[in-house]
């Protein structure tokens, strides 16, 4: 057993209102630069829909992620190392920018410089790739709220095989939002796809990053990620990706997308996992067992033997304590209401989702408090959002897993209704949700009323251990020409000060971090 810590995220899809605040604030901070106009580290998709880039989930086409070969060994779907070297001059699996969208701006100066006239001046769209006038035909979120769905939604890869069940007629439509960031996977295929060894996973917190000085622009990570969450900066010729806002995480602050989330749908917390068992879990033969396999890699932070090993592996005591309060561990492992996005890609993703329940409840509840599990449970199967559709997204097609999670959530609602309105602790409802009443109430608090400190349980990095090394030359990988900056040494703010967001504080103190040396790889993580 080798214990490592990972900052994970859970998003409660029931509460996402599709406002895109997360996307916009993320873009302002990270991808507001030449070459990244088309890049959204955080984007919010409407499901059913094509997504961004279009049909990214179709990995028959893009060849992202892992597969098992005939002998059951884990292999990059796009092919092995030799194949990569032979196709290095042209990557057969790379999306083009039109699969995302052609970024544009407007010729605003026609508004500002317009002389006094009868008619209002108009700003027309202008391509950010060529500077020429263009017709906007697709965007990062073109099919928002089912716009154009009659034409496009049926091409959603998750609807494959469900055409009979899903009638996209007006009366029977359904939709929900799917906010997406990089999954900071336990078994990241982007890292494995990078021939230069520029991509790496951080041992301390599991964040997956691109070393901007080692990246040589071979662009295999872009196609290798099954979630299409590595992007090619066409201005610098280097790959970039979501950083999980590590300069903030290191200060114990939530990511920008979490901090600004209007629906308060996001949770951040630590997970302890056994790094020695990652590969084994990702090699689980039956796709439908991948969820259990991944759960079995997580370690119980309350278990004294785990704690002992964690300490031996250099995890600080306060981190072990934070792991025990992790909302992510609770939602994913203790209550099993959060599920991984497309576990069948075998990257062991670390951003999990609580499936949406609202349409059922809304339909049934009408006017009051009779959300009775006896009515709700059958309704889950008849839900407008077909179970099979959710299962294709969150459970490798295993509808039972989604049904269990939804039953728990529905049971929780029924139980809490009775408690709030009638003042009774309904043991039967609790039993139906197969949880103790105290557990149900804890889950309810976390999902419904949790405050900032309960949703974001992120320990500060132990940067004092870095100060010793800070005199050495090097770079943190953000402070490049045209990069977002932020290579200052980390000050430790007083507890409770949350404003210390440092991205604008470039080169503070003149310290530069050491280039991160490759410290090794998993035993058994060979080819």
């Amino acid at each position: 057993m080798k214990v490592r810590a990972q900052v994970g995220m859970v998003m409660n899809l029931d509460k996402c209102i599709g406002c895109h605040t997360c996307s916009v604030t993320c873009k302002q901070v990270w991808t507001n630069r030449p070459g990244t106009e088309y890049v959204w580290f955080n984007n919010v998709e409407t499901k059913p829909g094509l997504g961004y880039p279009r049909r990214w989930e179709d990995n028959q086409k893009w060849q992202g992620g892992w597969k098992l070969d005939r002998r059951g060994r884990l292999r990059l779907r796009a092919g092995g190392q030799l194949r990569k070297l032979l196709t290095i001059f042209w990557n057969p699996d790379l999306p083009t920018i039109d699969d995302y969208y052609e970024p544009w701006t407007y010729d605003y100066h026609t508004l500002i410089d317009a002389p006094l006239s009868e008619r209002d001046p108009v700003a027309r769209p202008q391509s950010q790739l060529t500077g020429r006038r263009m017709d906007v035909k697709w965007g990062p979120n073109w099919d928002d709220m089912l716009a154009g769905a009659p034409e496009t939604a049926s091409q959603d890869p998750d609807l494959a095989g469900l055409q009979e069940q899903v009638k996209l007629t007006y009366e029977r439509t359904f939709m929900f939002y799917l906010p997406r960031i990089c999954e900071h996977c336990l078994n990241p295929s982007c890292v494995a796809s990078c021939p230069s060894g520029a991509m790496y996973k951080r041992e301390e917190d599991g964040i997956v990053l691109v070393d901007q000085e080692k990246c040589r622009g071979w662009r295999f990570c872009v196609s290798g990620c099954p979630y299409k969450k590595v992007y090619f900066n066409h201005h610098t010729g280097k790959a970039e990706k979501c950083t999980l806002c590590y300069p903030r995480i290191e200060l114990g602050l939530p990511t920008v997308c979490s901090e600004t989330c209007v629906g308060r749908i996001r949770y951040l917390g630590l997970l302890l996992y056994d790094a020695d068992r990652v590969r084994e879990a990702a090699s689980e033969p039956d796709e439908k067992n991948l969820l259990d396999a991944q759960l079995s890699v997580f370690l119980d932070p309350a278990d004294p033997s785990v704690q002992r090993q964690a300490r031996a592996d250099g995890i600080p005591d306060d981190w072990i304590e934070y792991a025990q309060r992790s909302p992510v561990y609770a939602l994913a492992h203790r209550w099993r209401v959060a599920l991984p996005l497309h576990p069948e890609y075998r990257t062991l993703p670390m951003v999990w989702y609580v499936p949406p329940l609202s349409p059922v409840v809304n339909a049934l509840e009408g006017d009051g408090y009779e959300a009775d599990p006896d009515q709700l449970f059958p309704a889950i199967d008849a839900m407008r959002i077909p179970l099979d559709y959710l299962a294709n997204i969150l459970a490798a097609g295993d509808r039972e897993v989604v049904r269990q999670a939804l039953r728990r959530l529905a049971g929780m609602r029924g139980y809490m209704r009775k408690l709030e309105v009638l003042g009774v602790r309904d043991q039967q409802a609790a039993a139906a949700a197969s949880l103790e009443p105290s557990e149900i109430e804890a889950m309810y608090r976390l999902l419904a009323v949790a405050k900032y400190e309960d949703r974001y349980v992120v320990p500060q990095a132990h940067s004092e251990q870095a100060q010793r090394l800070a005199e050495l030359p090097g770079s943190c990988g953000l402070d490049f020409d045209g990069g977002p900056g932020n290579c200052g040494a980390l000050p430790r703010p007083a507890q409770g000060i949350n404003e210390a967001f440092m991205v604008h504080n470039r080169k503070a103190g003149g310290h530069r971090f050491v280039p991160l040396p490759v410290v090794g790889s998993e035993p058994g993580q060979g080819r």
């Binding site: 494995a192 060894g197 040589r216 132990h462 490049f480 490759v518 790889s521 998993e522």
Partner: protein, 231 residues
């Protein structure tokens, strides 16, 4: 030895080698961030499929042929039993295939750069310089391979240009050897020194980064940010 010969066949090569070496050291130390293939596949993929593959495979094969032709003395190939005729036949055939692939690829790449506004916007002045010099080298090389060796009676450059090239490496330059070669050969042997001089300052540095270390490497790489105590 005329002044021109001294300049073109002795001074230029040494100046170029100096720039080449010093330039790479400088670039590696000061601009690792700029060290990339500057791929444009994101912006256009169909032309690139043909252009990049034909050009690179053609160019690498041609470079391989040059290494054999220039660095390995004629006596050595004779000693292992390859006659001048056989060598010539092989070099002309392989050289023609590689050269044609390289030219076709190059034409597609340059055409693509000119035709697509998206790509044109990514082109720098250094790129233009590199394309001009490369175009010169490739065209001259083709005239030699196809014009002289495949269609014509052939010119055996190995006892003249080959020896001159090695004489530069031994620091005993013998420019008179190349002075007698046909003009096309002289030009083709001179232009590359200009390419080497711009090489470290251009996108061509990507050629040194062929990631051969990838083969046999473990899949997942980890790095540690803080020097935590570990077992």
């Amino acid at each position: 030895m005329t002044l021109w010969e001294a300049l073109l066949f002795v001074a230029l090569p040494y100046a170029s080698i100096t720039l080449f070496v010093a330039g790479h050291i400088w670039r590696y130390r000061h601009d690792k961030f700029g060290w990339t293939s500057r791929s444009t596949q994101l912006l256009e993929r169909r032309w690139l499929a043909w252009g990049s593959n034909l050009f690179h495979y053609g160019a690498l094969a041609a470079i391989g042929g040059h290494v054999v032709g220039l660095l390995i003395p004629e006596q050595l190939t004779h000693a292992v039993g390859i006659s001048e005729g056989a060598y010539h036949l092989f070099a002309a055939a392989a050289g023609t295939v590689a050269g044609l692939a390289c030219v076709a690829g190059f034409v597609i790449l340059v055409g693509r750069r000119a035709y697509f506004p998206r790509i044109r916007r990514t082109t720098t002045w250094t790129d233009v310089m590199v394309y001009l010099v490369l175009a010169g080298i490739i065209v001259l090389g083709l005239i030699e391979t196809i014009g002289f060796n495949t269609l014509g009676s052939g010119y055996n450059y190995r006892p003249t240009i080959g020896v001159w090239f090695r004489s530069l490496l031994w620091l005993h330059p013998e420019p008179q050897l190349i002075a007698g070669a046909p003009l096309v050969y002289q030009l083709h042997a001179t232009l590359p020194w200009i390419l080497y001089a711009v090489w470290p300052f251009s996108r061509l540095v990507h050629a040194w980064s062929l990631p051969w270390q990838y083969v046999g490497r473990p899949n997942i790489l980890y790095r540690r940010r803080y020097g935590l105590a570990r077992r």
